[in-house]
């Protein structure tokens, strides 16, 4: 996977994860263009399209578009499952996730994504395992904050 984007129907970016080194202004350009292309798609069209030299896999969940750019040799159908797994993780973590959760807790959404994928590849195929790791890390964060208060 080259990158993953989450954006709303109004074209507002909610999350961007780049797995290749790209200049800031190129990123902005690509995001703008790709959002336009994907938002113009009609509901009956398939989830895959060719854009520049990349394969794009996208799926809409409620008001959010999840959009991945994958390599030539990547399996598009399993990429849909990867996206779905990420959504399930968010759902489990936030409890019936909605766009507002991602907006107000974007850093947590990134933490979950970074526990699930690294360099565009799945780290652990067990849903439970990923959620447990996030839970533990959150606990660790709590502990470190409590310590701070104790010392203050």
């Amino acid at each position: 996977m080259r990158f993953m984007l989450l954006f709303s129907r109004q074209g507002k970016l909610r999350l961007q994860k780049w797995y290749t080194a790209t200049a800031e202004r190129d990123k902005k350009k690509m995001v703008r263009e790709l959002m336009q292309v994907v938002l113009a798609r009609k509901p009956k069209m398939c989830s895959f399209l060719e854009w520049r030299d990349l394969k794009i896999v996208y799926k809409r969940y409620a008001s959010l578009y999840f959009c991945c750019a994958v390599e030539e040799q990547d399996n598009e159908l399993i990429t849909l499952e990867v996206i779905h797994r990420f959504v399930e993780l968010l759902d489990k973590y936030f409890g019936s996730v909605c766009e507002l959760d991602i907006i107000f807790n974007f850093e947590k959404a990134y933490f979950i994504l970074d526990e699930f994928l690294m360099g565009g590849e799945i780290q652990d195929t067990s849903k439970k395992s990923v959620l447990k790791a996030i839970e533990q890390a959150d606990l660790l964060q709590e502990v470190s904050l409590n310590l701070k208060h104790k010392m203050a």
Binding site: I78, E107, M118, T125, A137
Partner: protein, 674 residues
């Protein structure tokens, strides 16, 4: 100084902005506050401020002044600081930034941290965006972690190693020892997925690694088999299928290992057949596995039965309601159509149906695949579908479709007439989308189809009467009229059903002159029509009209036209004294024998002072028993007004044998040459 506002409060505030300007103002205000907070080296709120900066960065605002702060957060001992610090690094500090390398030391320390979640953070950051230099510096640490017994770290180290190898391929060797036991049963299943990914990366990059890891095939086959046969494992299950992500990855690695290797391919044959036949296809996840299986079967040296099985899976995919499945089927079929042509042909009708799909990507693939499947046997049927598709498809497709049709027609045309008709159909329905280089190619085609000249020019003329907007059509038509205008006005046609075109010289010239003045004509088109008009001066009798037109364009503002007109004018002047001395002779050949004369060719030679022009004959078959005739027009230029004498030679095939006949004709009436 009051505490900086919390992240969520800032987000809430910014979202209340009603205009872009209002938002920008809020952002600028907050950025100013954050900047001063940074200047004060405030440790307590650094984390909060950087988090806010990251939010504003996502909205599109500059955040580079937070880069160093991210480094400070990473260096902090607090986990909460590190979490935001590393996130900030991943968002703001990619390898193009000068301060990127400053992270190296922190990452190195954190890779050896006592808390695995801190180690995880640093592995993740390195594995997502570490530069080549950083990878070089830290590869040793990653390799160490690859050998740890902690599976949480080991799986991350594997993916981090993948990134290191991608950035610095020479370092691949150093990870080899650590891969020794990656797949062994002793390990928890947790690291299997990332291990397979690492092995795949290494095999893809190095033929030596590939040969080295071929011995893993039996192990991989066993793991895959266990996955399929194993009971329900809720942790890894997706819609009833065990760990589909791992299955797909193993299949992909098997593909790489089996490619070009007989033994490996044989070893995986059974498991591939098993996966292909037993995988549940009701949901996308099952089909994803089948898709990967098909890709593997097609790439390795599989036995023919397995290949047919794979193509049939793709055939079934084509009939699936889910358009995503249809899409991948078409893509895969396109990849295999060369090697498994016959198997793919069996699904031709389904593929052709996909031309009518609503989805643009599916239509495009169906079109590409259809062209790949055209052959001498199915050309007529396929062309019907493709022409229909050309009529109704999106403008984006028309150019490619038209080119494809021309290519296919050239390769497989069952007859010249069919070929010309097909070309005509494309020019009339998609004439404006045809590529520029098609025009000379089509002219070449028409020139070579000698027997079709009259038919072609008549059809093209008729098309022009209907529509002069499609430039490639207009250009080809103009050229033909210029070249074969005499056939156009003479109304003769080789085909059984002539086109019923009543074209008088003046009408033809009206049409061509119309092209010169029309707004729809491009400069190139105008050049074509002017040249055509000029050429007709040697074929038509209304030379004065033509001269007038040509002289008008001698002062055209279009430089190309002006140049042509001036040169044509000069031609007129040069040969002025010659034009009245053209004798036009029409020969009629009939055959009273009971067998046709085929391959009939009439040739003539005249004395040196004459110039002879033989126009195309109406046909090269003289039917038996006077059932028809071959006509041919000869134009003789006789500038010295000498007596016309001609030597003629007839060659033809009669009852299977070639015949040659020579004669001299000296009895031309005096009016023809005086």
């Amino acid at each position: 100084m009051p505490a900086p506002i919390r992240l969520r409060e800032l987000i809430r505030t910014i979202r209340t902005a009603r205009t872009q300007a209002e938002e920008r103002e809020m952002i600028q205000k907050e950025c100013a506050a954050i900047r001063s907070s940074f200047r004060e080296e405030d440790n307590t709120y650094r984390c909060r401020n950087v988090a806010k900066l990251l939010y504003m960065h996502m909205l599109g605002y500059p955040a580079h002044f937070g880069q160093l702060e991210c480094l400070k957060l990473i260096a902090s001992q607090k986990f909460t600081d590190k979490r935001i610090g590393y996130l900030g690094a991943m968002l703001l500090l990619d390898e193009r930034q000068d301060v990127h390398l400053l992270m190296t030391n922190c990452i190195k320390n954190d890779l050896n941290h006592s808390t695995q979640y801190v180690q995880g953070l640093s592995l993740c950051t390195l594995g997502c965006m570490g530069s080549s230099e950083m990878c070089r510096d830290l590869a040793g640490e990653v390799e160490k972690l690859l050998k740890t017994s902690n599976s949480y770290l080991r799986k991350k180290a594997a993916l981090c190693a993948v990134h290191v190898i991608r950035k610095v391929p020479e370092l691949m060797e150093m990870f080899l020892p650590a891969t020794k036991n990656l797949l062994s049963e002793k390990n928890h299943g947790e690291i299997l997925h990332t291990s397979v990914v690492l092995l795949t990366e290494m095999c893809e990059r190095s033929p030596d690694m590939l040969s080295h890891f071929r011995k893993l095939v039996p192990q991989l086959v066993r793991i895959l088999k266990n996955l399929i046969m194993s009971g329900y494992s809720p942790e890894h299950d997706v819609s009833g299928i065990s760990d589909p992500f791992l299955q797909v990855r193993i299949l992909r690695l098997l593909r790489i290992l089996g490619k070009g290797d007989d033994d490996s391919s044989e070893a995986m044959n059974d498991i591939l057949a098993q996966v292909a036949t037993n995988t549940e296809t009701s949901k996308n996840v099952g089909n994803a596995i089948l898709y990967e299986t098909v890709l593997t079967i097609m790439d390795i040296k599989s036995e023919s039965g397995l290949r047919v099985l794979a193509i049939n899976i793709l055939g079934r995919f084509l009939l699936n309601n889910d358009k995503n499945i249809r899409y991948v089927a078409l893509t895969s079929l396109l990849k295999t159509v060369q090697t498994d042509h016959n198997a793919v042909q069996r699904h031709r009708s389904t593929i052709v149906d996909c031309l009518k799909d609503l989805d643009v990507s599916i239509k495009r693939r169906a079109m590409e695949l259809s062209f790949a499947l055209v052959n001498g046997n199915n050309i007529r049927g396929m062309m019907k579908e493709l022409l229909y598709f050309l009529d109704s498809c999106d403008p984006d497709f028309k150019a490619d479709c038209a080119s494809g049709i021309f290519l296919a027609a050239e390769k497989y045309a069952p007859s010249k007439r069919w070929h010309i008709d097909t070309v005509m159909r494309v020019l009339t329905t998609a004439g404006s989308y045809v590529r520029d280089d098609s025009v000379p190619n089509l002219i070449q085609l028409i020139t070579n189809s000698v027997e079709m000249h009259a038919y072609t020019v008549q059809r093209l003329y008729k098309a022009l009467l209907d529509d002069i907007s499609q430039q490639p059509l207009v250009q080809v038509a103009s050229w033909c009229i210029g070249e074969y205008g005499d056939l156009l006005v003479s109304g003769q046609c080789e085909e059984e059903e002539p086109i019923q075109v009543d074209a008088l010289e003046d009408e033809v010239l009206d049409v061509l002159e119309g092209l010169l003045v029309s707004n729809l004509s491009t400069p190139v088109t105008r050049a074509y029509s002017l040249t055509a008009i000029m050429k007709l001066s040697t074929r038509f009798s209304s030379v004065n009209r033509i001269k007038k037109v040509v002289s008008i364009y001698g002062s055209s503002i279009d430089v190309e036209l002006q140049q042509r007109a001036v040169e044509y004018n000069a031609l007129f002047k040069k040969y002025d004294h010659m034009s009245p001395n053209i004798a036009v002779i029409t020969i009629h050949a009939t055959n009273s024998t009971e067998a046709d004369m085929t391959e009939f060719v009439f040739q003539a030679a005249v004395p040196k002072t004459f110039q002879l022009q033989l126009l195309s004959p109406s046909s090269n078959v003289v039917p038996a028993l006077n059932q028809g005739s071959v006509t041919q027009v000869i134009r003789v230029l006789n500038p010295q007004k000498q007596q016309l004498r001609m030597r003629i030679k007839l060659t033809y095939t009669h009852k299977g044998s070639p015949v040659q006949d020579l004669a001299e004709v000296n009895n031309f009436p005096p009016q023809s040459w005086q």
